[in-house]
């Protein structure tokens, strides 16, 4: 089944390109560590999901590119075409001549309705090319102007027009010390609308990915390209093909559907975080070996202690003893607290994957009281190695990962709102104070729900 990707704004388009590139490179990687037949099945599955076929054999990404200015889209199109390996469809993009100046309200109330028909038409054409549609990825930033406002509008329209299809928003969480003054306003407005119309919000934190680039990949001058590539690697390790079940050798038809069914069925808990291990520069890769036991032990501690990467993990944090309340209530004094999960999905790729022991992830102490590990924990596997890593593991988690960052953003936005700073930029285009208040209410409710696990 196919997934159609909508790339929105500068952020969405640059990341989207890296994602398709990573997927394509991995599926054509010669070091898959598996038989030729298996490799072909893997390639075919990846291709059907993310690419469509053209007459001269160059795969075309199943994507729609949207931006209010032409520069980034043109760069993205030409980068893809130059590689000669895959490309974007000639008529799959929509852009205008002027930007929206980081104005969320302009993106949502003006650009959106004005260009709704053209954009939805493009998406419809892409959907019609699919034999069967699994759902949509919408890649966007949360804090900018075009990506966030227009992204919220487009997601709402996708919900109206394709209410039975699944929608996952890949959201880029801005740097804490970001450049856009109103980024917190934009963030809360975006998140509250997406919470209503999307099925799952997969959050990628710029700060976290930046640290990975610095500490693990040893990159000196970190560019956006580096960050996007790490992000793309994470997404690829989640959505590349996996076996459909224990003991099966067929690839899963609908990973998006299976993921959503296992992680986000509850309407109040839709925020997902991704972690993966190991992550290192290609040079170091050649000199490293891994065991599943080691990788999983680190991954589990990353989950429990809310670490963003495998370095600097706090090993002091332990699951609470049964019978005692979890130390998970939000407290400004306590810096260290245990991260309670609602549901987790672990994805294992590589050699000897069937011998990996996941018992530690099934510990009831990791999970909230109202969901048992047998329902809360899922694992996907494939023998085929990902992107030259002999063994790699990814974790998609619906847990308290994002409570603190969300609380910080809501707090900052509220402080600005209390003094009505910059509100006129929004009311000018039809976003009223009530809309802000509704957003605050919804997000406070989400924070409270996650804290009360």
């Amino acid at each position: 089944m196919s997934i159609v990707t909508v790339q929105l704004g500068q952020c969405g388009n640059q990341i989207g390109f890296e994602v398709f590139d990573a997927l394509f490179s991995d599926s054509h990687c010669p070091q898959g560590l598996c038989s030729k037949r298996e490799n072909e099945a893997y390639q075919a599955s990846c291709k059907e999901r993310f690419f469509s076929e053209e007459e001269n054999g160059v795969p075309i990404a199943r994507a729609v590119l949207v931006d209010m200015e032409p520069k980034v889209i043109n760069q993205t199109l030409s980068k893809a075409a130059h590689s000669g390996r895959w490309k974007y469809g000639q008529h799959s993009c929509f852009c205008q001549k002027q930007g929206s100046g980081n104005n969320w309200a302009y993106g949502y109330s003006v650009h959106g309705p004005r260009h709704k028909e053209s954009i939805m038409d493009l998406i419809q054409k892409e959907v019609e090319k699919c034999d069967s549609l699994s759902g949509f990825f919408i890649i966007m930033s949360m804090a900018g102007g075009t990506g966030s406002g227009l992204g919220a509008f487009v997601t709402q329209n996708l919900e109206d027009q394709y209410s039975n299809s699944l929608k996952m928003n890949q959201i880029i969480w801005p740097y804490g010390t970001g450049e856009v003054i109103v980024q917190n306003y934009n963030s809360i407005l975006t998140l509250s609308r997406l919470y209503r119309s999307s099925d799952a919000l997969l959050v990628h934190e710029n700060d976290a990915v930046h640290k990975i680039c610095a500490k693990l990949m040893n990159i000196k001058q970190i560019s956006f390209r580096d960050i996007n590539q790490v992000l793309a690697h994470q997404l690829g390790s989640v959505f590349q093909p996996t076996y459909s079940g224990e003991g099966s050798w067929h690839y899963r038809r609908n990973p998006l559907g299976d993921l959503m069914e296992n992680l986000v069925p509850h309407p109040e808990f839709k925020m997902l975080g991704v972690r993966n291990i190991p992550q290192m520069s290609e040079n170091s890769l050649a000199y490293s070996t891994f065991t599943w036991a080691g990788l999983l032990k680190h991954l589990r501690q990353m989950l429990i202690s809310n670490a963003k990467m495998e370095e600097g993990i706090d090993w002091q944090i332990r699951p609470p003893l049964s019978g005692l309340p979890a130390l998970s209530k939000m407290s400004t004094n306590k810096e260290f607290h245990f991260n309670t999960s609602i549901a987790n999905l672990v994805i294992l790729r590589g050699k000897d994957v069937h011998n990996a022991d996941l018992g530690a992830f099934k510990d009831p102490a990791l999970y909230t009281s109202w969901l048992e590990p047998v329902h809360a924990f899922n694992v996907w596997k494939t023998q085929r190695a990902f992107s030259k890593y002999e063994k790699s593991a990814a974790l998609v988690s619906n847990s308290q990962f994002l409570v603190k960052p969300l609380d910080v953003i809501v707090g900052k936005a509220w402080n600005m709102f209390a003094s009505k700073a910059y509100i006129h930029q929004y009311t000018k285009y039809g976003i009223e104070e009530e809309d802000f208040l509704e957003s605050f209410t919804l997000l406070e409710q989400v924070i409270a729900s996650y804290c009360n696990l």
């Binding site: 089944m1 069967s132 299809s165 209503r196 038809r253 609908n254 509850h266 109040e268 109202w370 969901l371």
Partner: protein, 414 residues
């Protein structure tokens, strides 16, 4: 027990004929036990009991066997058999009182089997269930799915503390599964369409014109062809056994008479009487209630008429129009709920055949008709859903008003 009395069978032939008849029956039934088991059951031997419990379970389960039902313990199967027989109206108390562990009661089980056989076209139904299907099939009505609700779910644990979040989680999971199922079905349809398109002109039967998935696999994979052949052969064998059974069943029924005679007399002939005596006062009560209701209805109707009074010709015209609208609504309701949504053809799954545009097409239903009927049903169900949602909202609003000082924050929905 209904069976036809025909000419008597001679004693020598009788000794041979009975085991052969039972053997034929056994070959027709799925999971049929040996004639020796039947003989043991007549004498109520405990060794025969498990096989008969399993046979009855297999016979009474709706639909073809799947891994889940086959792996149920003997105890679970026995419980399921008891509840299924009860719901079919089996009159004997003795069977219901047998222990669940499946260790006893072979004679009672034998009688139950004979009851089922005599009652209706059991063998024909079982054979139809496990028919080898060559075409790509699709159901056009929901009768089968609605009629067989499946095995009873294992008892939910202690009715103690249930976290509402867990229920919301399960509801959400159900919704996602439904959406994923729809996506899978669309995928299946798209792929079937492609196969039918590509194999145009390949089928020897002109009226079909193209191959089905099974037939295509036959051509692609010789091993698949061999398996299909084996399945067809075993189905043939069962059909032949069924025919043989029909020729010989006379002898079986005579033998069953002796089994019935050997069993305890707490069986059929006694039960209707006490029931009939109990029913009379109930019947009289019902009649009295009905008469009371009639009186009340008349009184109310008269009161309404009086209140409405005579508002002139405009009113009666309006009223006639109202009556008409209501009548149409009711008729539409009835049509929408007719089995098959008003389709006059029989139920059950149908083979999918793709024809060229403009070609006349063969016998059977046309896709546009089925789609139309389904759309009508869907529209009706949507209306009912909206009404129910409206009721829920009103109820919630009422509850909210009843608790002052409480702030209700509605969930983040549309």
């Amino acid at each position: 027990m209904g069976r036809r009395r025909r000419c008597r069978v001679g004693p020598d032939e009788a000794t041979r004929a009975l085991p052969e008849a039972i053997a034929a029956l056994s070959r027709t039934l799925p999971a049929g036990p040996s004639p020796e088991t039947f003989r043991r059951a007549k004498f109520d031997c405990p060794e025969a009991a498990p096989a008969l419990w399993r046979l009855l379970f297999r016979v009474l389960s709706p639909g073809p066997p799947d891994g889940a039902s086959a792996s149920l313990s003997l105890e679970a199967q026995a419980r399921s058999v008891k509840s299924a027989l009860r719901s079919q109206g089996y009159p004997s108390q003795a069977l219901a009182q047998l222990p669940d562990n499946g260790s006893q009661g072979s004679r009672q089980l034998l009688l139950a089997l004979a009851w089922l056989l005599a009652r209706g076209p059991l063998l024909e139904q079982l054979l139809a269930q496990s028919r080898v299907r060559l075409g790509d099939e699709m159901p056009v009505c929901e009768c089968e799915a609605l009629a067989s609700p499946g095995p009873p779910a294992p008892g939910m644990g202690e009715a103690g503390h249930v976290d509402i979040r867990h229920l919301q989680w399960l509801m959400g999971k159900l919704r996602f599964r439904w959406r994923n199922l729809m996506a899978s079905q669309q995928e299946q349809c798209a792929l079937l369409g492609q196969i039918h398109l590509y194999t145009r002109g390949c089928h020897s039967d002109r009226s079909l014109g193209h191959l089905s998935v099974t037939e295509t696999e036959l051509l692609r994979d010789p091993e698949g062809g061999r398996q299909l052949l084996r399945r067809l052969e075993s189905e043939n064998a069962r059909l032949e056994a069924a025919l043989e059974w029909r020729r010989r069943e006379q002898v079986f029924w005579q033998w069953m008479d002796t089994v019935l005679g050997a069993s305890q007399p707490t069986f059929l002939p006694r039960s209707p009487e006490p029931g009939a005596r109990e029913l009379e006062p109930v019947a009289r009560e019902l009649q009295a209630l009905w008469e009371q209701l009639q009186e009340a209805v008349e009184a109310r109707r008269a009161a309404w008429e009086a209140r409405v009074g005579d508002r002139g010709p405009a009113w009666s015209a309006a009223r006639r129009a109202l009556d008409e609208v209501v009548g149409q609504d009711l008729a539409a309701l009835q049509r929408a709920w007719e089995p098959g949504g008003g389709l006059t053809q029989p139920h059950g799954p149908r083979r999918l055949v793709r024809t060229e545009a403009g070609a006349p097409g063969g016998p059977g239903l046309r896709a546009p008709e089925v789609i139309e009927a389904l759309r009508t049903q869907e529209a009706h169900l949507e209306v009912v859903l909206r009404q129910l949602q409206g009721h829920c909202r009103q109820e919630l609003a009422r509850l909210a008003r009843a608790l002052p000082g409480l702030i209700w924050i509605p969930p983040p929905g549309r």
